[in-house]
């Protein structure tokens, strides 16, 4: 076991990155890509979260397939802005990538004055897709989505719904559902998964929107009842739970953990990376690491991934602009 204090670890990592960088400078040839030096994979949040774990899995299985190491660099702060700016400021040679959900790439630039927009990124490989799930307490009179919508319609603006942070990937599907149905609920922001679950278990709120993984144990134990998921298809973990699309609401806002390259990285390099990362994940070891961490690996190919990203950009843009110009 090696353990270092934060600053040591960072120095060591910087050294490990710098030495080969200096040696290799100027000798880059396209045909050798991506084997010339280690790839830096930035995460917009701290160690230990779902994105970090997904990145560590790639790091653990990458080398034989990419021909080089993948170093995970956690760069939390400013809602992901720090990591995004670092990635975009690096040389666009495909050796600096970012793994992220859509918040820092789409929501943040749409809401704030950033130096980049969603179009400055291209998805390379999607590791997993997570379903924002609408859940109620099992004692809710009619524990189905139509039941919730009927209750919301009876008392507009009075039904408590909790959703993690303001404008997070759990909040946006709720906002979208309201915009489409023209119903209003009373939104209670929380710190995220743990607090959201507590509010629901204690019946402080009637409806919660959260990631399917954070309620898995509670669903299994019967202490919360899922009523809908905001993905295009039903998810394997909750086969009985309908999608919002089936229920007649066009709310498809899955959360994904995807590896991105800046848009100015040449397309052949992006495709090369996509193919090699895909083969790294198509291994027994990757599957067993992912299974242990309860991560369902996606099998999206490069071209449909571009479409999925464009769809998310369109939906998030529509949701946010409807809020800003009601």
């Amino acid at each position: 076991m090696r353990e270092f204090p934060a600053h040591r670890l960072r120095c060591l990592r910087a050294l490990l990155i710098c030495i080969p960088l200096c040696l290799m400078a100027g000798s880059a040839r396209a045909d050798a890509f991506p084997t010339e030096r280690p790839i830096r994979l930035l995460t917009p949040y701290g160690a230990g979260g779902g994105i970090d774990i997904a990145a560590r899995i790639l790091s653990a299985v990458a080398e034989p397939h990419l021909g080089t190491r993948v170093d995970v660099v956690n760069m939390p702060g400013a809602g992901g802005l720090n990591a995004a700016m670092f990635t975009l400021d690096a040389k666009p040679d495909g050796y600096t990538l970012m793994i992220s959900d859509y918040g820092p790439l789409i929501t943040l630039p749409l809401r704030e004055d950033t130096d980049y927009g969603p179009e400055d990124w291209t998805p390379v490989f999607q590791i997993t897709e997570i379903a924002p799930t609408f859940v109620v307490h099992p004692d809710f009179p009619e524990p189905t989505l139509p039941g919730v919508m009927a209750a919301a319609a009876r008392e507009p603006g009075r039904l408590h719904a909790t959703h993690g942070a303001f404008m997070s990937s759990s909040h946006l599907p709720l906002l979208r559902l309201e915009q489409i149905s023209e119903l209003r609920m009373n939104h209670v922001p929380t710190l995220g998964g743990g607090e959201t679950l507590q509010f629901l278990l204690a019946s402080i709120v009637s409806l919660a929107v959260t990631n399917s993984s954070s309620i898995a144990s509670a669903v299994e134990g019967g202490s919360v009842a899922p009523v809908a998921v905001a993905t295009r298809q039903r998810i394997p973990e909750l086969p009985e739970t309908p999608t919002l699309l089936e229920l007649g609401y066009d709310v498809v806002m899955p959360v994904w953990y995807t590896i991105f390259a800046p848009a100015d990285v040449p397309e052949p390099r992006r495709r090369e990376l996509a193919a090699r990362i895909a083969s790294a994940f198509d291994t027994e070891r990757a599957r067993s690491l992912a299974a242990r961490a309860s991560i369902t690996l996606s099998g999206t190919d490069y071209d449909s991934l571009q479409q999925a990203y464009a769809d998310t950009v369109a939906t998030v843009t529509a949701t946010i602009s409807a809020l800003q110009n009601p």
Partner: protein, 501 residues
């Protein structure tokens, strides 16, 4: 049942698990003692390594780390007046005066024994009465938390007789500082004046270390220079604090420690309860234990001037969160603190989802964790017993050697956390604010408390306002919230009446 216990013991006492827990404890005490690196940060850094380990050593190492850091934070609090972890901020109030009076060893040992007792108590509570306590803790919604936070701030701000107004102003300054940065509910920048650095908020570590430590260093450095100057002028050699330290007078007998039982029991009970509440944590436990212990103490006028009880209560309190913070996680799968969330992440990495189902489907592992939590406390005791006399001697080195090292560590530690020079400026500015506050006789603890509790207080207040549709009556509509206000009012009334005599 017996079979289950034997297989759990088999897991918990295997060499890898024993070594993992011991390593975790040693590492925890060490990082806890280093200002700026908290147990949570060390646990987050460990997660990638834990990824490749088995479940029992993985959880053992993380829990050892957490327990060790809860005590380790008190080492630098007592030795240098710097909270090694935010949870140890309350320990400074009496620990540092004790060291200044030449009794670092007594203070450190009081802290150690109290930590162990608090920790052990809360693990026993976790094992035997977790479920009923968790049911109560789950009912703590925003309304109840607002009551608890508000009452805690009132109790701490009114600690010093005759300086209540200053105490409240200090708490208000702390809350105001905590509001710099992004509005948690809308994302809008507050008090940022167009600066992106300020929009990111003030860091907990630079503010705490700046207020407590850098201000102390600035004052001491000033004093040393003055003494130097006087010595040159008058040709008189000044005694440094290092001379005249008598290690024999600085021993703590168990009999003497036993007289502190009121403070220890108050701390252990308060810490266990606060630890079980989702979202409260070690810092609130430390401060609240200190405030309550002062109320029940026979020698409450000694508090703040170097009282052993004033070390025992917060240390028992903050360490008593170690077992208790797992209660909501095990009972409902609700991680009640940053540390519990990291432990929960470690479980998930290992393929076990924490929650009620875990107790049904992985009973051996749960029992093994209970066992390693118990012996983890003993490891903390033994490791720290061996280290403390050396720490005590180290702390009595002349300040002119210690101060530059502490200041350098404070700056380095602050910079390392976020790679941000802005944080270093915040640290130094907080130091100057601390000097000014000491100058006008404003107590520093309420500022720290206000700053630490501010975000939680604000969240609880605004969530309550949303849930109550802006009706003030909502705050007084629940039985738990009403009881908290009732207990606080009784305490204050008793305090005022006793104070009158």
């Amino acid at each position: 049942m017996l079979e289950l216990l034997i297989s759990a013991l088999d897991v918990a006492l295997s060499p890898t698990v024993l070594i993992a827990v011991l390593l975790g404890v040693i590492l925890g005490v060490t990082v806890g003692a280093i200002p700026g690196i908290s147990g949570d940060m060390a646990m987050a850094l460990m997660l990638p390594f834990v990824f490749t380990m088995d479940i029992a050593p993985a959880i053992g190492m993380l829990m050892g780390l957490y327990k060790g850091s809860l005590f380790g934070g008190s080492i630098s609090a007592i030795m240098f007046g710097v909270p090694g972890t935010p949870g140890a901020a309350a320990t400074i109030l009496d620990g540092f005066p004790l060291k200044q009076a030449g009794f670092p060893n007594r203070a450190l040992h009081t802290g150690l024994y109290s930590s162990i007792i608090g920790d052990f108590t809360s693990v026993l509570v976790l094992i035997f009465i977790a479920t009923p306590l968790a049911v109560l803790a789950l009912q703590f919604g925003p309304r109840e938390f607002f009551a608890l936070y508000a009452v805690s701030i009132v109790i701490i701000a009114a600690l010093d007789k005759g300086r209540v107004a200053l105490g409240f102003s200090a708490a208000a300054v702390g809350i105001l500082l905590s509001m710099v940065g992004r509005d948690p509910f809308s994302g809008a920048a507050r008090y940022a004046f167009g600066s992106t650095d300020l929009a990111g908020g003030l860091g907990l570590v630079p503010v705490l270390i700046g207020l407590f430590a850098v201000s102390e260093i600035m004052l001491q450095a000033g004093r040393i220079f003055r003494e130097r100057f006087a010595h040159l002028e008058a040709g008189v050699r000044q005694r440094t604090a290092g001379e005249g330290y008598d290690p024999d007078a600085d021993r703590l007998s168990l009999r003497e420690y036993a007289t502190l039982w009121r403070a220890v029991v108050t701390g252990a009970a308060t810490g266990t309860f606060v630890g079980a509440l989702p979202g409260a944590g070690a810092t609130l436990a430390g401060f609240l234990s200190y405030g309550l212990a002062k109320r029940v103490s026979r020698n409450s006028d000694r508090f703040g001037k170097g009282s052993l009880e004033g070390v025992a209560a917060p240390e028992a309190g903050n360490s008593a969160t170690a077992g208790a913070t797992l209660i909501p996680l095990f009972a409902f799968g609700v991680p009640g603190s940053g540390s519990a969330a990291l432990i929960g992440a470690a479980f998930i990495i290992q393929g076990i989802t924490p929650g009620p189902m875990m107790i049904e489907s992985n009973l051996t592992i749960v029992y093994a964790i209970f066992i390693l939590l118990l012996y983890g406390s003993i490891f903390t005791l033994i490791t720290s017993k061996l280290l403390l006399p050396h720490y005590a001697r180290l702390s009595m080195l002349p300040p002119r050697y210690i101060l530059p090292v502490v200041l350098a560590l404070a700056i380095l530690g602050t910079y390392a956390i976020g790679n941000s020079t802005f944080d270093v400026w915040v640290l130094l500015a907080a130091g100057i604010v601390g000097v000014a506050m000491r100058g006008v006789g404003m107590p520093i603890a309420p500022v720290a408390l206000g700053f630490i509790l501010g975000p939680g207080l604000e969240r609880a207040l605004r969530q309550s306002l949303i849930l109550g549709f802006n009706e003030p009556g909502y705050f007084f509509s629940g039985p738990i919230a009403l009881s908290i206000y009732g207990i606080a009012a009784t305490l204050l009334l008793v305090f005022v009446l006793v104070g009158r005599e």
